[in-house]
């Protein structure tokens, strides 16, 4: 790998200092050091209108002999963002230098025939371009050898001399490498993507001291993109293959649930063949997505790329309602370690996607693997309903978790039937909040008022209001269903308020 600090393009200052332009007289040096991509000998002004940027324009002796032509040439060259204009030594005048200064474009005079200068410069440019091509080819070979997206990004970062490389999907960083950016140039490249994969962006942010310009960086990124795509696709295929045992487990789970020992006898080698080991302990992870989200292959690929930060060897299997992974864990390991690691590595990204993660209890052996999957799923579903974007451990769920599985729509219908006055009340949200506080504090007026941060007398008045809308607090057999109905209504109302954002300032209005 060549040195990352070496720029791959010529620049005016360098070529004047020790290159083909070392013999020219600098009539005016521009305030910024222009790069040089090409050189052209101009025998008529129209030619300058077609030169690409970063070209050194060498005026033939014929053109350079007319003062106005040099002025017009400077103007055209400036408009084309040329690197410099070279004229014959004898032709320049003060006014021409003044114009070069005004346009801030390099102007040089050649003592010898300007075309000789042009030929020497062309040779130098050709040599540098050859080196650049060789360098790019070496770089392409280097990234081709890498086997993961992250290592490719590392390779790019090193070659660019310490750039921060990120691969992003809708603002979510899927993979990154290199030191933190410190305000240098940033180049972004949209990756061509397959249908449903969403918009992928490869971004490189350089150090302030970098010699590379945006075009250089873009060139490297463009060379690396095919490797990134192929490695990612290969990884996706590998993950799909590696997740087969987990998929198979879900298929045989019915049999295992009936009688695990019997199943093991009937298929003595089945689990071993699938890679499960009875001497290991396992913990299941279920990632759930909101029910309204459409399925897409791209979503699974992006999620799997994120998941490699957590457990690269245990890829996610795409199952109905989400993704599942069964992870072998050490008996000595703290059961909370896995949820912590997930939270640390990917929870913010999953929250961006609207996903929630559930983890199961830890169990030894393979007999209850389907049960572990169910635990993780319950925890993940709880997260989706109660706190989207969180990591929930099954072991942390209390009895209240049962409310997460109630049919909100059905309960709302029952509420409309049994508590019509409440449903029609404009202050129903406050009534529900007060009633729940009262119930959750075992009908203690004092504790409930404290929890609500209001005076006891105020709560007493509100209790009267509660009774007015038809809520009965004195019949024990109705307390449980009442509690459940109000819990669901509260959740439903909270959900509706969070979606009503003011389009003008993003604030939320409670209704």
């Amino acid at each position: 790998m060549p040195s990352p600090s070496k720029a791959i393009r010529l620049d005016v200052a360098g070529v004047v200092a020790h290159g083909a332009l070392s013999t020219v007289t600098m009539l005016y040096a521009a305030s910024t050091n222009a790069v040089i991509d090409g050189v052209v000998i101009v025998s008529d002004l129209e030619t300058i209108k077609r030169v690409p940027p970063n070209t050194v324009v060498v005026l033939s002796t014929h053109v350079g002999s007319g003062g106005w032509q040099v002025s017009a040439a400077l103007r055209h060259a400036w408009e084309r963002r040329a690197s410099a204009v070279i004229i014959a030594q004898s032709t320049y005048a003060e006014s021409v230098i003044s114009l070069a200064e005004r346009l801030d474009i390099n102007l040089m005079a050649a003592e010898q025939d300007p075309s000789i200068i042009a030929l020497a410069l062309a040779a130098e440019i050709g040599a540098v371009k050859s080196l650049a091509e060789v360098d790019l080819a070496q770089f392409a070979r280097a990234v081709t050898k890498e086997t993961t997206v992250t290592t490719i990004l590392k390779t790019i970062s090193i070659r660019l001399g310490g750039f921060r490389l990120t691969l992003e999907h809708d603002g979510i960083v899927l993979a990154a490498a290199g030191p933190a950016a410190d305000g240098g140039p940033t180049v972004q490249l949209e990756l061509p993507s397959a249908a449903n994969w969403g918009q992928l962006k490869l971004s490189a942010s350089g150090p302030k001291t970098t010699e590379l310009n945006a075009l250089d960086v873009r060139t490297y990124l463009e060379v690396a993109v095919p490797s990134i795509q192929s490695v990612w696709m290969a990884g996706e295929i590998n993950d799909s293959a590696a997740s087969a045992p987990t998929l198979a487990l879900t298929d045989v789970s019915d049999c295992l649930q009936v009688d695990a020992q019997l199943a093991d006898k009937a298929r003595p080698n089945l689990l071993a063949k699938l890679g499960w080991h009875s001497e290991h302990s396992y913990q299941a992870v279920w990632i759930a997505h909101p029910a309204h989200q459409q399925h897409s292959m791209g979503r699974t690929a992006i999620l799997r790329l994120l998941w490699r930060k957590v457990a690269a060897r245990r890829p996610l299997a795409e199952v109905r309602g989400g993704w599942l992974s069964l992870i072998p864990v050490d008996e000595s390991e703290d059961p909370g370690q896995l949820p912590s690691r997930i939270g640390e590595k990917v929870s913010s990204s999953l929250a961006e996607l609207g996903f929630s993660v559930g983890t199961s209890m830890r169990q030894s052996g393979v007999n209850n693997l389907p049960a572990l999957a169910q635990q993780a799923r319950v925890a993940a579903d709880y997260g989706i309903r109660i706190a989207p974007g969180t990591v929930t451990s099954f072991g942390d769920l209390g009895m209240g978790a049962v409310t997460a599985y109630m049919d909100d729509a059905a309960i709302s219908l029952v509420a409309g039937l049994t508590l019509p006055a409440l449903m029609a009340a404009p202050d129903r949200e406050q009534i529900i909040r007060d009633t729940l506080a009262f119930l959750e504090h075992q009908n203690s007026m004092t504790l409930a008022a404290k929890a609500l941060n209001i005076h006891r007398n105020t709560l007493q008045q509100r209790i009267n209001r509660i009774r007015d809308v038809g809520i009965i607090l004195d019949e024990p057999e109705q307390i449980l269903p009442l509690h459940l109905i109000l819990t669901v209504l509260k959740r439903t109302l909270q959900g509706s308020t969070t979606e009503q954002k003011d389009p003008h300032n993003g604030t939320i209005h409670l209704t």
Binding site: W68, S98, L99
Partner: protein, 358 residues
């Protein structure tokens, strides 16, 4: 028809100078003085083109110079009369009216004197609408009107009549002859009918010179004069700039373009723009920060910023504050044929005219 008085003639002279500030105006002012002195002896009648009978014979009058300034050896006075007689003799019919070869400078004003001498009216038209250096650079050439017969009378009274079809060939022959005749010659050319001049000439150009002179001579603030000039001529002020640098180059020129190229560099007062005037026989090109802002056949005039008076090129000095005015030429000069005949390439400038969008 309009009979010109001495004030009209003086205004005419100023207007003729405005439209050709690149030429030494000494001869113009000399003719102005001669005409004013001679006015009591006759009338200078200016007629519109539609006052002519379509079959009337009209002829263009103009000096052709090649190295000798007219003011250095003034004409005796009968040179143009001889030329008119030669044309009449060759064509066998009387000339009904005269017209100027160019609407500016000496060739703009001299027909007034000849009109006084001969009693012939002057047509308020010309075939250039400005001053161009070559006798072939006319709208009559564009219209296919014959340039010959051409009557030529030299410094010492020698005279000749040329018959030549091609205007460019006529250019060569006349200039060769002028050198032999002493450095300048009075000429009468483009004899044509009133209808041909009506169809292919540029009209109202003599009256325009008088109006320009009226504006320049008025006791009014400079900016007021500028507003009136812009309105009259559809002109624009390119810049108000101070002269910074003058330089001269020796370059090969085609026959008929005898003067050496000079460049004038100015710096705009307000913007700091660097303005370069490329001057051959006239102000050929105006570059603003290297970009072409005007090019021949645009008419460029330099005016003193303090007085609003024409600054002739010979009088330009470093440090002088000058307003650069651009007056568009007649629309026909911006057609493809017009630009081929009198656009930048005709003066050795390989560039596209800014008004040409092809």
């Amino acid at each position: 028809m309009r009979t010109l008085n001495s004030e009209d003639v003086r205004h005419f002279s100023k207007g003729a100078n405005f439209l050709a500030c690149h030429i030494d105006p000494a001869a113009v002012f000399a003719y102005e003085e001669m005409i004013v002195q001679a006015l009591p002896t006759g009338d200078v009648r200016l007629i519109n083109i539609d006052e002519l009978d379509p079959n009337d014979l009209v002829v263009a009058l103009g000096f052709v110079t090649q190295g000798l300034a007219i003011a250095d050896m003034p004409p005796v006075g009968d040179e143009f009369v001889r030329c008119i007689q030669a044309i009449e003799q060759r064509l066998g019919r009387k000339v009904s009216a005269l017209y100027s070869l160019a609407a500016g400078n000496i060739n703009g004003i001299l027909p007034l004197m000849t009109g006084l001498q001969t009693g012939l009216p002057i047509v308020d038209s010309d075939p250039m609408g400005r001053v161009l250096p070559l006798i072939s650079q006319t709208t009559l050439t564009l219209g296919g009107v014959r340039i010959s017969p051409i009557a030529v009378t030299g410094v010492t009274g020698e005279h000749s009549t040329l018959d030549v079809e091609d205007p460019q060939r006529a250019e060569t022959l006349v200039r060769s002859l002028v050198i032999e005749l002493g450095g300048w010659a009075a000429t009468a050319m483009y004899p044509c009918t009133g209808q041909q001049l009506a169809e292919h000439g540029i009209h109202g150009t003599m009256t325009r010179m008088i109006k320009i002179g009226e504006i320049l001579g008025a006791e009014e603030p400079v900016e007021s004069k500028y507003v009136q000039l812009m309105r009259l001529l559809n002109a624009t002020r390119v810049a108000r700039a101070r002269v910074k640098h003058m330089e001269s180059f020796s370059r090969d020129k085609a026959l008929g373009l005898p003067t050496q190229t000079t460049s004038l560099t100015l710096v705009a007062e307000q913007t700091g723009q660097i303005i370069r005037l490329e001057i051959g026989n006239e102000i050929l090109l105006v570059l603003v920060d290297g970009a072409v802002a005007a090019a021949v056949p645009d008419i460029i005039t330099l005016l003193s910023a303090d007085l609003g008076q024409v600054v002739n090129l010979d009088d330009v000095r470093v440090g002088q504050l000058i307003d650069i005015f651009l007056t568009p030429a007649a629309p026909i000069w911006y057609t493809e044929a017009g630009l081929n005949l009198a656009g930048p390439p005709a003066f050795g400038l390989q560039l596209q005219h800014p008004r040409c969008h092809a």
